[in-house]
Assembly symmetry: C2
Homo-oligomer: 285 residues x 2
Protein backbone atom coordinates (compact mmCIF):
# COMPACT_ATOMS: atom_id res chain seq x y z
CA UNK A 1 0.00 0.00 0.00
CA UNK A 2 1.59 3.23 -1.13
CA UNK A 3 0.98 6.58 0.54
CA UNK A 4 0.64 8.26 -2.84
CA UNK A 5 0.03 7.09 -6.40
CA UNK A 6 0.88 9.69 -9.02
CA UNK A 7 -0.61 9.22 -12.46
CA UNK A 8 0.96 11.04 -15.40
CA UNK A 9 4.46 11.74 -16.63
CA UNK A 10 4.10 15.37 -17.71
CA UNK A 11 5.54 18.37 -15.85
CA UNK A 12 2.89 18.20 -13.11
CA UNK A 13 3.66 14.53 -12.58
CA UNK A 14 7.41 15.16 -12.40
CA UNK A 15 6.90 17.91 -9.83
CA UNK A 16 4.54 15.71 -7.81
CA UNK A 17 7.01 12.81 -7.86
CA UNK A 18 9.93 15.02 -6.77
CA UNK A 19 7.92 16.31 -3.84
CA UNK A 20 6.67 12.87 -2.81
CA UNK A 21 10.31 11.77 -2.73
CA UNK A 22 11.48 14.82 -0.78
CA UNK A 23 8.61 14.53 1.68
CA UNK A 24 9.72 10.96 2.26
CA UNK A 25 6.47 9.26 1.36
CA UNK A 26 6.11 5.82 -0.17
CA UNK A 27 4.82 6.40 -3.65
CA UNK A 28 4.45 4.96 -7.10
CA UNK A 29 4.58 7.05 -10.26
CA UNK A 30 2.63 5.66 -13.18
CA UNK A 31 2.35 6.95 -16.68
CA UNK A 32 3.09 6.45 -20.30
CA UNK A 33 6.48 8.17 -20.23
CA UNK A 34 8.40 10.87 -18.42
CA UNK A 35 7.26 14.28 -19.66
CA UNK A 36 4.69 14.43 -22.35
CA UNK A 37 4.84 14.50 -26.11
CA UNK A 38 3.31 17.93 -25.93
CA UNK A 39 6.32 19.23 -23.99
CA UNK A 40 8.80 17.57 -26.32
CA UNK A 41 7.20 19.19 -29.33
CA UNK A 42 7.12 22.73 -27.91
CA UNK A 43 9.38 24.91 -30.03
CA UNK A 44 10.42 27.58 -27.58
CA UNK A 45 9.35 28.15 -24.00
CA UNK A 46 10.03 31.65 -22.75
CA UNK A 47 8.21 31.67 -19.44
CA UNK A 48 9.58 28.79 -17.40
CA UNK A 49 11.27 30.97 -14.78
CA UNK A 50 14.95 30.24 -14.40
CA UNK A 51 15.31 28.48 -17.75
CA UNK A 52 15.11 31.25 -20.37
CA UNK A 53 14.48 30.39 -24.01
CA UNK A 54 14.49 26.63 -23.81
CA UNK A 55 13.03 24.25 -26.32
CA UNK A 56 10.45 21.71 -25.29
CA UNK A 57 13.04 18.97 -25.77
CA UNK A 58 15.40 20.77 -23.39
CA UNK A 59 12.71 21.26 -20.74
CA UNK A 60 11.73 17.65 -21.15
CA UNK A 61 15.36 16.61 -20.62
CA UNK A 62 15.75 18.93 -17.64
CA UNK A 63 12.68 17.48 -15.95
CA UNK A 64 13.61 13.85 -16.66
CA UNK A 65 17.16 14.49 -15.54
CA UNK A 66 15.96 16.09 -12.31
CA UNK A 67 13.78 13.08 -11.53
CA UNK A 68 16.57 10.62 -12.36
CA UNK A 69 19.10 12.56 -10.30
CA UNK A 70 16.87 11.93 -7.29
CA UNK A 71 16.30 8.29 -8.12
CA UNK A 72 12.70 8.91 -9.11
CA UNK A 73 11.45 6.75 -11.98
CA UNK A 74 8.12 6.32 -13.68
CA UNK A 75 6.58 2.90 -14.17
CA UNK A 76 5.45 2.91 -17.77
CA UNK A 77 1.86 1.81 -18.00
CA UNK A 78 -1.61 3.09 -18.77
CA UNK A 79 -3.86 3.37 -15.75
CA UNK A 80 -7.41 2.67 -16.87
CA UNK A 81 -9.30 2.67 -13.61
CA UNK A 82 -9.11 4.05 -10.08
CA UNK A 83 -11.49 2.42 -7.59
CA UNK A 84 -12.15 3.41 -3.99
CA UNK A 85 -12.58 0.66 -1.42
CA UNK A 86 -12.48 1.01 2.36
CA UNK A 87 -10.85 4.42 2.28
CA UNK A 88 -8.05 3.55 -0.10
CA UNK A 89 -7.67 3.32 -3.85
CA UNK A 90 -6.97 0.46 -6.22
CA UNK A 91 -5.46 1.40 -9.56
CA UNK A 92 -5.78 -0.84 -12.58
CA UNK A 93 -2.99 -0.72 -15.15
CA UNK A 94 -3.11 -3.52 -17.66
CA UNK A 95 -2.80 -6.73 -15.69
CA UNK A 96 -1.22 -5.01 -12.71
CA UNK A 97 -2.93 -3.35 -9.79
CA UNK A 98 -1.61 -0.85 -7.29
CA UNK A 99 -2.99 0.22 -3.94
CA UNK A 100 -2.56 3.70 -2.50
CA UNK A 101 -4.01 5.88 0.22
CA UNK A 102 -4.07 8.95 -2.03
CA UNK A 103 -4.01 9.55 -5.77
CA UNK A 104 -2.58 12.56 -7.57
CA UNK A 105 -3.97 12.87 -11.10
CA UNK A 106 -1.63 14.62 -13.54
CA UNK A 107 -3.41 13.52 -16.68
CA UNK A 108 -2.74 16.43 -18.96
CA UNK A 109 -5.41 17.66 -21.26
CA UNK A 110 -4.73 15.45 -24.24
CA UNK A 111 -6.87 12.75 -22.71
CA UNK A 112 -9.56 13.12 -25.31
CA UNK A 113 -13.12 13.35 -24.26
CA UNK A 114 -14.67 9.92 -24.63
CA UNK A 115 -16.67 9.42 -27.81
CA UNK A 116 -20.36 8.75 -27.66
CA UNK A 117 -20.86 5.19 -26.44
CA UNK A 118 -17.32 4.82 -25.10
CA UNK A 119 -18.18 5.04 -21.42
CA UNK A 120 -21.54 3.38 -21.95
CA UNK A 121 -20.02 0.22 -23.41
CA UNK A 122 -16.84 0.17 -21.34
CA UNK A 123 -16.67 -3.37 -19.94
CA UNK A 124 -19.41 -4.39 -22.39
CA UNK A 125 -17.26 -4.92 -25.45
CA UNK A 126 -15.22 -1.73 -25.15
CA UNK A 127 -11.82 -2.15 -23.52
CA UNK A 128 -8.77 0.03 -22.91
CA UNK A 129 -6.47 -2.93 -22.29
CA UNK A 130 -5.24 -5.27 -25.02
CA UNK A 131 -3.40 -7.61 -22.69
CA UNK A 132 -6.29 -7.83 -20.21
CA UNK A 133 -9.16 -8.43 -22.57
CA UNK A 134 -7.58 -9.52 -25.86
CA UNK A 135 -8.06 -13.21 -25.01
CA UNK A 136 -11.84 -12.76 -24.95
CA UNK A 137 -11.87 -12.10 -28.68
CA UNK A 138 -9.97 -15.09 -30.02
CA UNK A 139 -11.29 -15.84 -33.51
CA UNK A 140 -13.72 -12.92 -33.42
CA UNK A 141 -14.09 -9.60 -35.19
CA UNK A 142 -12.61 -6.64 -33.37
CA UNK A 143 -11.96 -2.95 -34.03
CA UNK A 144 -8.97 -1.10 -32.63
CA UNK A 145 -8.85 2.67 -32.25
CA UNK A 146 -5.28 3.66 -31.54
CA UNK A 147 -4.08 7.20 -30.76
CA UNK A 148 -0.35 6.62 -30.48
CA UNK A 149 2.28 4.76 -32.48
CA UNK A 150 3.68 3.52 -29.14
CA UNK A 151 0.77 1.07 -28.98
CA UNK A 152 1.31 -0.51 -32.41
CA UNK A 153 2.65 -3.70 -30.87
CA UNK A 154 -0.64 -4.02 -28.99
CA UNK A 155 -2.54 -3.70 -32.27
CA UNK A 156 -0.43 -6.51 -33.69
CA UNK A 157 -1.01 -8.60 -30.59
CA UNK A 158 -4.77 -8.11 -30.93
CA UNK A 159 -4.63 -8.97 -34.64
CA UNK A 160 -2.82 -12.19 -33.76
CA UNK A 161 -5.80 -13.24 -31.65
CA UNK A 162 -8.77 -11.98 -33.65
CA UNK A 163 -10.10 -13.40 -36.88
CA UNK A 164 -10.48 -9.94 -38.36
CA UNK A 165 -9.32 -6.60 -37.08
CA UNK A 166 -10.40 -3.15 -38.28
CA UNK A 167 -7.76 -0.63 -37.26
CA UNK A 168 -8.24 3.12 -36.93
CA UNK A 169 -4.69 4.51 -36.63
CA UNK A 170 -5.10 8.05 -35.27
CA UNK A 171 -1.45 9.03 -35.79
CA UNK A 172 1.04 9.51 -38.60
CA UNK A 173 3.29 6.94 -40.26
CA UNK A 174 1.42 3.87 -39.14
CA UNK A 175 3.11 0.57 -39.89
CA UNK A 176 0.91 -2.31 -38.87
CA UNK A 177 2.24 -5.74 -39.70
CA UNK A 178 -0.80 -7.99 -39.67
CA UNK A 179 -2.40 -9.74 -42.62
CA UNK A 180 -5.89 -9.65 -41.11
CA UNK A 181 -5.81 -5.93 -40.37
CA UNK A 182 -8.07 -3.65 -42.36
CA UNK A 183 -6.96 -0.04 -42.05
CA UNK A 184 -9.51 2.77 -42.04
CA UNK A 185 -8.06 6.28 -42.19
CA UNK A 186 -11.04 8.04 -40.71
CA UNK A 187 -11.77 9.11 -37.18
CA UNK A 188 -14.39 7.10 -35.32
CA UNK A 189 -17.44 9.17 -34.39
CA UNK A 190 -19.28 6.90 -31.95
CA UNK A 191 -19.73 3.38 -30.68
CA UNK A 192 -23.18 1.85 -30.96
CA UNK A 193 -24.74 -1.38 -29.77
CA UNK A 194 -27.41 -2.82 -27.52
CA UNK A 195 -26.43 -4.84 -24.45
CA UNK A 196 -22.94 -4.89 -25.93
CA UNK A 197 -21.07 -2.74 -28.38
CA UNK A 198 -21.84 -3.79 -31.95
CA UNK A 199 -20.22 -1.31 -34.30
CA UNK A 200 -17.91 1.61 -34.77
CA UNK A 201 -19.40 4.50 -36.74
CA UNK A 202 -17.08 6.80 -38.69
CA UNK A 203 -17.70 9.49 -41.26
CA UNK A 204 -19.09 7.78 -44.32
CA UNK A 205 -19.52 4.34 -42.87
CA UNK A 206 -19.52 1.88 -40.03
CA UNK A 207 -17.88 -1.39 -39.19
CA UNK A 208 -19.24 -4.19 -37.04
CA UNK A 209 -17.20 -5.65 -34.21
CA UNK A 210 -17.57 -8.07 -31.33
CA UNK A 211 -15.14 -6.00 -29.32
CA UNK A 212 -13.60 -2.52 -29.56
CA UNK A 213 -10.18 -1.74 -28.15
CA UNK A 214 -9.37 1.91 -27.56
CA UNK A 215 -5.62 2.30 -27.09
CA UNK A 216 -4.69 5.71 -25.76
CA UNK A 217 -2.11 7.04 -23.36
CA UNK A 218 -4.68 8.33 -20.91
CA UNK A 219 -8.36 7.88 -20.45
CA UNK A 220 -10.56 10.85 -19.60
CA UNK A 221 -10.67 11.81 -15.93
CA UNK A 222 -14.32 10.92 -15.46
CA UNK A 223 -13.78 7.52 -17.08
CA UNK A 224 -10.71 6.91 -14.95
CA UNK A 225 -12.33 7.76 -11.63
CA UNK A 226 -16.01 7.08 -11.15
CA UNK A 227 -17.77 10.01 -9.49
CA UNK A 228 -14.97 12.49 -10.13
CA UNK A 229 -16.40 15.96 -10.62
CA UNK A 230 -15.35 17.56 -13.88
CA UNK A 231 -16.31 20.67 -15.79
CA UNK A 232 -15.81 20.76 -19.53
CA UNK A 233 -13.40 17.85 -19.25
CA UNK A 234 -11.32 19.50 -16.52
CA UNK A 235 -11.13 18.04 -13.04
CA UNK A 236 -12.73 20.39 -10.50
CA UNK A 237 -10.26 21.13 -7.71
CA UNK A 238 -9.97 23.72 -4.99
CA UNK A 239 -6.95 25.90 -4.17
CA UNK A 240 -5.33 22.92 -2.44
CA UNK A 241 -5.71 20.87 -5.65
CA UNK A 242 -8.20 18.57 -3.87
CA UNK A 243 -10.86 16.98 -6.05
CA UNK A 244 -14.40 16.24 -4.87
CA UNK A 245 -13.39 12.75 -3.70
CA UNK A 246 -11.40 12.73 -0.42
CA UNK A 247 -7.86 11.51 -1.05
CA UNK A 248 -7.87 12.42 -4.74
CA UNK A 249 -5.86 15.42 -5.91
CA UNK A 250 -5.14 16.77 -9.37
CA UNK A 251 -2.53 19.02 -10.95
CA UNK A 252 -1.56 20.49 -14.29
CA UNK A 253 -3.49 20.90 -17.50
CA UNK A 254 -6.16 18.42 -16.38
CA UNK A 255 -7.37 20.98 -13.80
CA UNK A 256 -7.94 23.66 -16.43
CA UNK A 257 -6.39 26.69 -18.05
CA UNK A 258 -3.93 28.26 -18.40
CA UNK A 259 -2.18 25.30 -20.02
CA UNK A 260 1.27 26.34 -18.88
CA UNK A 261 4.25 24.26 -17.81
CA UNK A 262 5.01 26.40 -14.82
CA UNK A 263 1.42 26.32 -13.63
CA UNK A 264 1.59 22.53 -13.94
CA UNK A 265 4.76 22.12 -11.88
CA UNK A 266 3.41 24.54 -9.27
CA UNK A 267 0.24 22.50 -8.92
CA UNK A 268 2.18 19.22 -8.77
CA UNK A 269 3.92 20.64 -5.73
CA UNK A 270 0.69 21.86 -4.12
CA UNK A 271 -1.19 18.60 -4.80
CA UNK A 272 1.47 16.48 -3.09
CA UNK A 273 1.70 18.83 -0.13
CA UNK A 274 -2.08 18.53 0.21
CA UNK A 275 -1.89 14.73 -0.08
CA UNK A 276 0.69 14.67 2.70
CA UNK A 277 -1.53 16.83 4.89
CA UNK A 278 -4.43 14.51 4.16
CA UNK A 279 -2.32 11.47 5.13
CA UNK A 280 -1.27 13.14 8.38
CA UNK A 281 -4.88 14.00 9.23
CA UNK A 282 -6.03 10.44 8.38
CA UNK A 283 -3.43 8.94 10.72
CA UNK A 284 -4.70 11.04 13.60
CA UNK A 285 -8.25 9.75 13.23
CA UNK B 1 -1.88 54.03 -17.36
CA UNK B 2 -0.40 50.56 -17.34
CA UNK B 3 -2.38 47.44 -18.11
CA UNK B 4 -0.77 45.64 -15.18
CA UNK B 5 1.15 46.70 -12.08
CA UNK B 6 3.06 43.88 -10.44
CA UNK B 7 4.13 44.39 -6.83
CA UNK B 8 6.90 42.23 -5.43
CA UNK B 9 10.29 40.98 -6.60
CA UNK B 10 10.16 37.38 -5.37
CA UNK B 11 9.68 34.32 -7.58
CA UNK B 12 5.96 34.98 -8.07
CA UNK B 13 6.74 38.55 -9.15
CA UNK B 14 9.42 37.41 -11.59
CA UNK B 15 7.05 34.88 -13.15
CA UNK B 16 4.28 37.48 -13.36
CA UNK B 17 6.61 40.00 -15.01
CA UNK B 18 7.89 37.46 -17.58
CA UNK B 19 4.33 36.61 -18.54
CA UNK B 20 3.20 40.23 -18.73
CA UNK B 21 6.10 40.82 -21.12
CA UNK B 22 5.37 37.74 -23.23
CA UNK B 23 1.67 38.55 -23.38
CA UNK B 24 2.64 41.95 -24.69
CA UNK B 25 0.96 44.07 -22.05
CA UNK B 26 2.12 47.44 -20.79
CA UNK B 27 3.20 46.86 -17.23
CA UNK B 28 5.28 48.17 -14.38
CA UNK B 29 7.05 45.93 -11.90
CA UNK B 30 7.56 47.43 -8.46
CA UNK B 31 9.33 46.01 -5.46
CA UNK B 32 12.24 46.23 -3.14
CA UNK B 33 14.55 44.05 -5.22
CA UNK B 34 14.51 41.21 -7.71
CA UNK B 35 13.97 37.94 -5.86
CA UNK B 36 13.63 38.00 -2.14
CA UNK B 37 16.09 37.72 0.70
CA UNK B 38 14.31 34.54 1.67
CA UNK B 39 15.24 32.95 -1.66
CA UNK B 40 18.82 34.15 -1.47
CA UNK B 41 19.25 32.60 1.96
CA UNK B 42 17.82 29.18 1.07
CA UNK B 43 20.57 26.61 1.41
CA UNK B 44 19.47 23.95 -1.01
CA UNK B 45 16.35 23.72 -3.12
CA UNK B 46 15.62 20.23 -4.36
CA UNK B 47 12.15 20.61 -5.81
CA UNK B 48 12.33 23.37 -8.39
CA UNK B 49 11.69 21.11 -11.38
CA UNK B 50 14.40 21.34 -14.01
CA UNK B 51 17.02 22.86 -11.70
CA UNK B 52 18.11 20.03 -9.39
CA UNK B 53 20.02 20.77 -6.19
CA UNK B 54 20.40 24.51 -6.55
CA UNK B 55 21.17 26.95 -3.80
CA UNK B 56 18.89 29.87 -3.12
CA UNK B 57 21.55 32.19 -4.49
CA UNK B 58 21.64 30.20 -7.73
CA UNK B 59 17.86 30.23 -8.10
CA UNK B 60 17.86 33.91 -7.34
CA UNK B 61 20.46 34.46 -10.06
CA UNK B 62 18.58 32.25 -12.53
CA UNK B 63 15.36 34.21 -12.00
CA UNK B 64 17.03 37.63 -12.21
CA UNK B 65 18.98 36.57 -15.25
CA UNK B 66 15.83 35.31 -16.95
CA UNK B 67 14.09 38.62 -16.34
CA UNK B 68 17.09 40.63 -17.55
CA UNK B 69 17.48 38.46 -20.64
CA UNK B 70 13.99 39.55 -21.63
CA UNK B 71 14.56 43.18 -20.80
CA UNK B 72 12.32 43.02 -17.76
CA UNK B 73 13.45 45.18 -14.84
CA UNK B 74 12.01 45.99 -11.46
CA UNK B 75 11.60 49.57 -10.27
CA UNK B 76 12.97 49.54 -6.76
CA UNK B 77 10.48 51.11 -4.39
CA UNK B 78 8.12 50.28 -1.57
CA UNK B 79 4.46 50.48 -2.51
CA UNK B 80 2.54 51.60 0.54
CA UNK B 81 -0.95 52.00 -0.82
CA UNK B 82 -3.20 50.81 -3.65
CA UNK B 83 -6.33 52.86 -4.19
CA UNK B 84 -9.22 52.16 -6.54
CA UNK B 85 -10.78 55.05 -8.43
CA UNK B 86 -13.13 54.90 -11.42
CA UNK B 87 -12.28 51.29 -12.19
CA UNK B 88 -8.53 51.65 -12.13
CA UNK B 89 -5.87 51.64 -9.46
CA UNK B 90 -3.45 54.25 -8.16
CA UNK B 91 -0.33 52.93 -6.46
CA UNK B 92 1.59 55.06 -3.98
CA UNK B 93 5.33 54.43 -3.71
CA UNK B 94 7.14 57.08 -1.78
CA UNK B 95 6.63 60.30 -3.69
CA UNK B 96 5.78 58.53 -6.92
CA UNK B 97 2.41 57.26 -8.07
CA UNK B 98 1.53 54.74 -10.73
CA UNK B 99 -1.77 54.03 -12.42
CA UNK B 100 -2.82 50.61 -13.65
CA UNK B 101 -5.93 48.80 -14.79
CA UNK B 102 -5.01 45.67 -12.86
CA UNK B 103 -2.71 44.87 -9.94
CA UNK B 104 -0.90 41.59 -9.27
CA UNK B 105 0.18 41.31 -5.63
CA UNK B 106 3.25 39.12 -5.10
CA UNK B 107 4.00 40.31 -1.59
CA UNK B 108 5.53 37.21 -0.09
CA UNK B 109 4.73 36.26 3.44
CA UNK B 110 7.45 38.20 5.19
CA UNK B 111 5.25 41.25 5.20
CA UNK B 112 4.76 41.18 8.93
CA UNK B 113 1.30 41.50 10.34
CA UNK B 114 0.83 45.07 11.47
CA UNK B 115 1.33 45.66 15.18
CA UNK B 116 -1.51 46.86 17.35
CA UNK B 117 -2.14 50.51 16.58
CA UNK B 118 -0.20 50.47 13.29
CA UNK B 119 -3.19 50.57 10.98
CA UNK B 120 -5.21 52.64 13.43
CA UNK B 121 -2.67 55.48 13.48
CA UNK B 122 -1.51 55.21 9.86
CA UNK B 123 -1.74 58.77 8.52
CA UNK B 124 -2.18 60.02 12.09
CA UNK B 125 1.45 60.04 13.11
CA UNK B 126 2.38 56.64 11.74
CA UNK B 127 4.03 56.68 8.31
CA UNK B 128 5.68 54.13 6.01
CA UNK B 129 7.48 56.78 3.97
CA UNK B 130 10.46 58.79 5.24
CA UNK B 131 10.75 60.98 2.17
CA UNK B 132 7.02 61.72 2.02
CA UNK B 133 6.37 62.57 5.64
CA UNK B 134 9.78 63.26 7.19
CA UNK B 135 9.42 67.01 6.69
CA UNK B 136 6.42 67.10 9.02
CA UNK B 137 8.65 66.26 11.97
CA UNK B 138 11.37 68.88 11.70
CA UNK B 139 12.64 69.60 15.22
CA UNK B 140 10.30 67.06 16.79
CA UNK B 141 10.64 63.70 18.53
CA UNK B 142 10.22 60.68 16.31
CA UNK B 143 10.60 56.92 16.55
CA UNK B 144 11.76 54.75 13.66
CA UNK B 145 11.06 51.03 13.46
CA UNK B 146 13.24 49.58 10.72
CA UNK B 147 13.17 45.96 9.51
CA UNK B 148 15.94 46.04 6.94
CA UNK B 149 19.49 47.41 6.77
CA UNK B 150 18.65 48.61 3.26
CA UNK B 151 16.65 51.45 4.84
CA UNK B 152 19.43 52.76 7.11
CA UNK B 153 19.95 55.81 4.92
CA UNK B 154 16.30 56.68 5.50
CA UNK B 155 16.83 56.46 9.25
CA UNK B 156 19.75 58.87 8.93
CA UNK B 157 17.65 61.18 6.79
CA UNK B 158 14.90 61.20 9.43
CA UNK B 159 17.48 61.83 12.18
CA UNK B 160 18.77 64.81 10.23
CA UNK B 161 15.31 66.37 10.42
CA UNK B 162 14.11 65.43 13.89
CA UNK B 163 15.31 66.84 17.20
CA UNK B 164 15.43 63.38 18.71
CA UNK B 165 15.06 59.98 17.13
CA UNK B 166 14.48 56.65 18.87
CA UNK B 167 15.51 53.85 16.53
CA UNK B 168 14.41 50.22 16.75
CA UNK B 169 16.75 48.37 14.34
CA UNK B 170 15.09 45.01 13.71
CA UNK B 171 18.07 43.51 11.85
CA UNK B 172 21.67 42.55 12.51
CA UNK B 173 24.80 44.69 12.29
CA UNK B 174 23.10 48.04 12.46
CA UNK B 175 25.33 51.03 11.85
CA UNK B 176 23.41 54.25 12.30
CA UNK B 177 25.47 57.41 11.97
CA UNK B 178 23.41 60.05 13.76
CA UNK B 179 24.27 61.84 16.99
CA UNK B 180 20.64 62.31 18.00
CA UNK B 181 19.72 58.64 17.53
CA UNK B 182 18.91 56.59 20.59
CA UNK B 183 19.04 52.88 19.80
CA UNK B 184 16.67 50.45 21.51
CA UNK B 185 17.39 46.78 20.86
CA UNK B 186 13.95 45.51 21.65
CA UNK B 187 11.00 44.76 19.41
CA UNK B 188 8.12 47.22 19.50
CA UNK B 189 4.89 45.65 20.77
CA UNK B 190 2.30 48.28 19.94
CA UNK B 191 1.65 51.89 19.09
CA UNK B 192 -0.60 53.89 21.40
CA UNK B 193 -2.09 57.35 21.31
CA UNK B 194 -5.34 59.27 21.17
CA UNK B 195 -6.21 61.32 18.09
CA UNK B 196 -2.59 60.83 17.04
CA UNK B 197 0.06 58.28 17.87
CA UNK B 198 1.84 59.23 21.10
CA UNK B 199 4.20 56.42 22.01
CA UNK B 200 5.86 53.16 21.06
CA UNK B 201 5.52 50.40 23.64
CA UNK B 202 8.20 47.69 23.80
CA UNK B 203 8.95 44.94 26.30
CA UNK B 204 10.03 46.67 29.49
CA UNK B 205 9.29 50.24 28.51
CA UNK B 206 7.87 52.82 26.17
CA UNK B 207 9.06 55.90 24.36
CA UNK B 208 7.08 58.96 23.43
CA UNK B 209 7.10 60.29 19.88
CA UNK B 210 5.35 62.90 17.76
CA UNK B 211 5.67 60.62 14.76
CA UNK B 212 6.49 56.97 14.13
CA UNK B 213 8.12 55.79 10.90
CA UNK B 214 7.86 52.10 10.08
CA UNK B 215 10.40 51.23 7.41
CA UNK B 216 9.78 47.79 5.95
CA UNK B 217 10.08 46.24 2.53
CA UNK B 218 6.39 45.44 2.28
CA UNK B 219 3.32 46.41 4.18
CA UNK B 220 0.69 43.82 5.02
CA UNK B 221 -1.82 43.07 2.27
CA UNK B 222 -4.79 44.48 4.14
CA UNK B 223 -2.90 47.69 4.91
CA UNK B 224 -1.80 47.97 1.29
CA UNK B 225 -5.23 47.50 -0.26
CA UNK B 226 -8.26 48.71 1.63
CA UNK B 227 -11.04 46.13 1.58
CA UNK B 228 -8.84 43.26 0.44
CA UNK B 229 -10.13 40.01 1.88
CA UNK B 230 -7.50 38.12 3.84
CA UNK B 231 -7.48 35.08 6.09
CA UNK B 232 -4.77 34.74 8.71
CA UNK B 233 -2.70 37.30 6.85
CA UNK B 234 -3.04 35.51 3.50
CA UNK B 235 -4.85 37.10 0.58
CA UNK B 236 -7.98 35.11 -0.27
CA UNK B 237 -7.93 34.18 -3.96
CA UNK B 238 -9.76 31.71 -6.14
CA UNK B 239 -8.24 29.18 -8.57
CA UNK B 240 -7.66 31.99 -11.08
CA UNK B 241 -5.67 33.90 -8.41
CA UNK B 242 -8.38 36.61 -8.36
CA UNK B 243 -8.84 38.45 -5.08
CA UNK B 244 -12.18 39.74 -3.83
CA UNK B 245 -11.65 43.11 -5.56
CA UNK B 246 -12.17 43.01 -9.34
CA UNK B 247 -8.89 43.69 -11.12
CA UNK B 248 -6.72 42.61 -8.20
CA UNK B 249 -4.86 39.31 -8.38
CA UNK B 250 -2.35 37.70 -6.06
CA UNK B 251 0.33 35.03 -6.35
CA UNK B 252 2.96 33.27 -4.28
CA UNK B 253 3.42 32.98 -0.55
CA UNK B 254 1.01 35.86 0.12
CA UNK B 255 -1.88 33.63 -1.02
CA UNK B 256 -1.05 30.92 1.53
CA UNK B 257 0.73 27.63 1.99
CA UNK B 258 2.63 25.72 0.82
CA UNK B 259 5.39 28.33 0.82
CA UNK B 260 7.20 26.88 -2.16
CA UNK B 261 9.11 28.57 -4.95
CA UNK B 262 7.54 26.49 -7.65
CA UNK B 263 4.03 27.13 -6.35
CA UNK B 264 4.88 30.84 -6.40
CA UNK B 265 6.10 30.89 -10.01
CA UNK B 266 3.10 28.83 -11.07
CA UNK B 267 0.72 31.30 -9.49
CA UNK B 268 2.57 34.28 -10.97
CA UNK B 269 1.83 32.79 -14.36
CA UNK B 270 -1.82 32.11 -13.55
CA UNK B 271 -2.40 35.56 -12.01
CA UNK B 272 -1.14 37.38 -15.11
CA UNK B 273 -3.12 35.17 -17.44
CA UNK B 274 -6.20 36.01 -15.36
CA UNK B 275 -5.33 39.71 -15.44
CA UNK B 276 -5.08 39.56 -19.22
CA UNK B 277 -8.45 37.84 -19.44
CA UNK B 278 -9.91 40.51 -17.17
CA UNK B 279 -8.46 43.26 -19.39
CA UNK B 280 -9.90 41.63 -22.51
CA UNK B 281 -13.34 41.33 -20.88
CA UNK B 282 -13.19 44.95 -19.69
CA UNK B 283 -12.44 46.19 -23.19
CA UNK B 284 -15.51 44.45 -24.55
CA UNK B 285 -17.79 46.21 -22.10
Amino acid sequence: MYDIAIIGGGPAGVSAALNAKILNKSFVWLGSRVTSKKVERAELIKNYPGLPDITGAQLSWALSNHAQSMGVYIEECVVTGVYETNGFFTLLAGEKTYEAKTVVLCLGVEAAKPLEGEEEFLGRGVSYCATCDGGLYRGKRIAVVCTDKAFEHEIEYLCSLAAHCTVFPMYRNYDIKAANAEIILKAPLKYVGDVKVREVVYKGGSVSADGVFILKSAVSPSTLVHGLKTDGGHICVDRACSANISGIFAAGDCTGRPYQYVKAVGEGNVAVHSAVEYLAASEKK
